[in-house]
Every structure is written in structure tokens, then in C-alpha cells.
Symmetry: C2
Subunit: 341 residues, 2 copies
Amino acid sequence: MKLATLKAGGRDGSLIVVSRDLRHCQKVPKIAATLQFALDNWGLVVERLETVYKSLNDDSSWDMQPFDETLCHSPLPRAYQWADGSAYINHVELVRKARNAEVPASFYTDPLMYQGGSDSFIGPHDPIFALSEEWGIDLEAEVAVVTGEVAMGASVHECAKAIRLVMLVNDVSLRNLIPNELAKGFGFFQSKAASAFSPVCVTPDELGDAWQDSKLRLPINVQLNGRPFGKPNAGDDMTFNFAQLVAHAAATRELAGGTIIGSGTVSNKQGSLHGSSIENGGVGYCCLAEVRMYETIEQGAPKTPYLKFGDTVRIEMFDQQGASIFGAIDQTVAHYEGRQR
Amino acid sequence: MKLATLKAGGRDGSLIVVSRDLRHCQKVPKIAATLQFALDNWGLVVERLETVYKSLNDDSSWDMQPFDETLCHSPLPRAYQWADGSAYINHVELVRKARNAEVPASFYTDPLMYQGGSDSFIGPHDPIFALSEEWGIDLEAEVAVVTGEVAMGASVHECAKAIRLVMLVNDVSLRNLIPNELAKGFGFFQSKAASAFSPVCVTPDELGDAWQDSKLRLPINVQLNGRPFGKPNAGDDMTFNFAQLVAHAAATRELAGGTIIGSGTVSNKQGSLHGSSIENGGVGYCCLAEVRMYETIEQGAPKTPYLKFGDTVRIEMFDQQGASIFGAIDQTVAHYEGRQR
């Protein structure tokens, strides 16, 4: 099943069911007005939502409308929790190698995860707003899951079953603010801007064979200013799967339904390399920081700049038949001029 | 005006207006069913809520009921954002002194703040659940504010005006999990358990002269197992006021209405000391970690244990006439036996 949220209808938008081919949709106010409501009442609404989904796919919906992903907000425009892992250790290894540091052994057994801001997500086609290019604006293309309720100390097996939805995310980072902020010891805060999620989120069964062992085994496609920038496979080199990441989050506290858990920047090791650009025949990157670290290792200093106002980022994933699964995150970096909402 | 949330009525509970003396309350479903709804529509509902508040205080309410704080959830049972500052530098100085480290100069000009989990707060009279005493369960008595919407880069003056409500919080920390987690560099996650907030939250005007310069100038009273443990003044030694803390949070992103910003553990310097117990004539402490650091400095090692199952914590604040302003956070530490909800 595929779900999305139209911006119309208040801060939490309006839940719609979207056809598999992303061509049609139907509002479902009598079943669930918002995605958070659906997640809060999943057992009561899921069958009715699936019935609507089936009718959209076989053209028998009584209230079918064209689906326009540019009218969508993030599936949860605001959420009660957004926690982002760093499951692709290749990314961490590259960061460390660029500064000649070892990766601690515990990083291969104990997931890295930070608590992100979840109060004000932006839409998948909204601008990435910043007050200054000097912040070092960077994309981070990732996969994320949305959970149902999870008990404190839940097992990895229980956490796998609690995964309700899968989607993509651009976890914008402000790289030049990170060193000073992490040095303070309390993690990211100002160095993480508002994240945007793909227009469409899907239930794991929708992914078929591509969803295995709580991993999404497909390439994530990233374009920068219209040119291919990355296509690493989100199922490769993922040291911790989503069930393990959810279990990490739930180790000492309950998780509410609608908790979003991210994978961290997708990053593939390629042979003996920690990555290689698409021009060089590699699978490329999901963030500029990796290119810059690679340049630092190879050439002594980073060459590629961070994002400037006007730059565009597009993140999308295609199924084995080449069809877009989640719609696209398609954003332009822009100067913030005050509240839009 | 005083507001609270009864547990009845779903995950977000039911908003009530509470009389100044905490003796009576009135449900207001036709004005705002939940506190989040009221915050989302503050300009439209605040006058009508204040009218109810006035009628409760002059005994003219048409639907007055007895107020029982034990039936309350935290004012926001789940929130879209909970960010906790560390505004009482005395606390930080004490931590550092216990390990012979300097406090960086920037800590006096740039607030420390971490992003907390806000999806599953517990009620003010709910147990503090944990799976193990070995986690090093500690209280942290703090003051917190709830904001309206705040623009990215808002000034301190604008942030002062965006403070809608004030309340108390017990930001439970799992001390024995902190060193390994902070060493990973991404801040707190598993080392922070679910927080509980005072039964009642109040508008700043309700605090009269005690609310000055975005600080709450009254002692916060902490009891441990029924004995006085701390009574430091929340207005003293606060290096950053709440307006500054909100501005820090909003520096690179918008804040949604209903964002909760905490002060960090209240901590008073006393003369040349970094604190002193109530038995020794001091104002005591708001967390066990400070006692243990003080013991480490004085005696070479901590003596006071962290909380054990069955221990009780009570946090309350009284006005100049001795009346409880927010009701009490009154919790017992207990072993987690699975989801209650």
C-alpha cells in the first residue's frame, strides 16, 4: 500500500491513498484524516485503507483523483519522533580516514543514532531554506521507516514487525556548524536543518523481494543540479538493519506510533575504495561531505563546494521495472525570508 | 491562566482549565479538546480560555469540577519537540571540576542544548520505569517553557514573546549509560528516559513578579524519599534565560507551536562552593549526580547511590504565599513490565 499527505487541510495535512503507479489517489477522511491518526489506529484502519488501495490499482475507485506529488507535504508533516541512525559504516570510515583516525570497534556492534528535530518537516518539493551559504549546506539521501508502538527493550524480531512504512529522506546537514557543535558534547542541534521526506511512503510488503531482512535492497538515486551524483544500493554495506536500529531506539524507553527511524546517509564501499564518483565508474555519493573527504584523502584538501542558493537536489528510488516507488524529493536551496506557513 | 491535561480522552488527553488555587477545573472541549490544539490556535482560543479561568477563580463557572492532579498526564502527553538546555553553568562547572577539566570559555556565551525524545512523555504521578537499576537512574529537576511558532533566526526579544506556558520537568537521566553514549559523539539517546512534566502549566503573566527577564525567580523544591533534597532558586545562576534558549533552538530552523524548551538541571552556586546539601545549610541539589560530584571532589569518590526501585521523587514550586503553582511531579521508580497504554 502507498500513502501520502496533501498539504491542504491544516498542519498535519490530509491523508491520501496513492495508486501503485503514482497516477491516482483518493482522500480517505472517513477512514483516517491524517497519517498520524492512521498510525495511532493502525489495526482499525489498515484493512479499509488497503481496500481503497486495491480499488485505485484496478481502476474501480469511486472517488479517484489525479495524483500530483508537488502538492504533497512529507508523509508526516510533523512527527513525535525522528531519530536518525548511521548504519552505513563506510560513511563513518571515510570521515575518520580523512582525519587519520581509527573507527572504534564498538561502532560495528553498537549503532550510532542521534535524536533529530521532528516538529517542522518540510515538503518534498519545498525549498531547503537557510540564512547563509556559509553554514555549509549538504544533502544526505537516506531511507527511513515509520514504526507502530514499540515496548521498552523490545527484541529485534519484535521491532521488525513494528515497521509500518518505508520512505526516503533528505536529512539536510549544516556541515560548517557541525565541528563546533559536536565538540560541545551534546550532539547535533543547530547543525541539522529541517528534513524533507519522499511524497509517498509504502508498507514493506509493497517492496516485494526488495525488502529483505529489514533492509531495502535497491539503489537510491541522487541528482545534483540535474546531473547524476549517486546511486548506491541501500541494501549493501548496511551494518545495522532497520529492526536493529528500532531496537536501539527502544532500548530504554517506549516508542510512540509514528516514530521515524532513519538509516543514515547511504554509502557503498567499492572494492578497496571507500567510494567512487559516477564519472569514475562508481556508484557515487549521497552527500557532498563524502566527496570532500575523498578529495581530502586523494588530494589533500576538499574541492567540491557545499550547496549554494539555487542548487537543486533530487532523490528518488526505482523498482526493478524502472518505476518510481516513492515519488521524488526535489528541492532547491533558497534564502529564508520568514515563515511561509 | 493555568492549564492541565486529564489522561482520559485518548493519547493527547483532554485539556482542562485549572483554578489558581488548584482546587477546581473545567473541561473545555468546545474551545480546545487538547493543549496541542490550543497552542496551534492560540490567538483564536486564548481569550475564551481566560474567560473560563476567571470564572473558575471567582466561583462562577457553570461546569466546575474538583481538580485531582493524580488524574493528569503531562500537559503535552506527546509533543513535536523537546529540547533541553543546560543553562545553569554551576552544574557544568561541577561536572568538570570532578574530573579536573576546564569549562570551555564558549560555554558562557553559547548555550548547551540537546534534542530530547518527545513522543512518549509520562504523567507527573506515573512511575519512572526502567529495566535495570544498573542504568544509574537519576532525577533532574528543571523548569521548562512551551513556545508558539518561532521563525528561523528569531531575535531574543521575539523569542521572549513566543513563550506561551511555563511548567516543571523531571528529565530522568540514566547516568551509567551516559559516558559510553557521549563518547560516540552524537549526544544523548538511550541515556535519557521518558520525562515527566508538572500536572499544571501556567502562562507567564500568572507568575507575576517571579517571571522576570524570561527567568522564573523562585526556588524549585525537590524531595527524595520524603526528605528535603533541594531548593535552589531557578532564577539564580541561570547563565542563559529562556528567551536566549529558544533563540538558540531557532537559529537554523523554524520551531513549531508546542515546542518545549528546558532549562537544564537547576543548580545554585553558593559563595565559593559549587553547592551544598540542605543538611549542611545549603540549598541542596536537583540531581544525584551533583551530590556524587561534590563527594568526588571532597572525598575522592561518590557515596550517594543513584535511584533504586521503590525510591520516590517529588518536585514542586511554591509562590510567595506558599501555594503550589504547578502541582507536584511525584514519581516512584519501578521495574518496567511492558506497555501500560
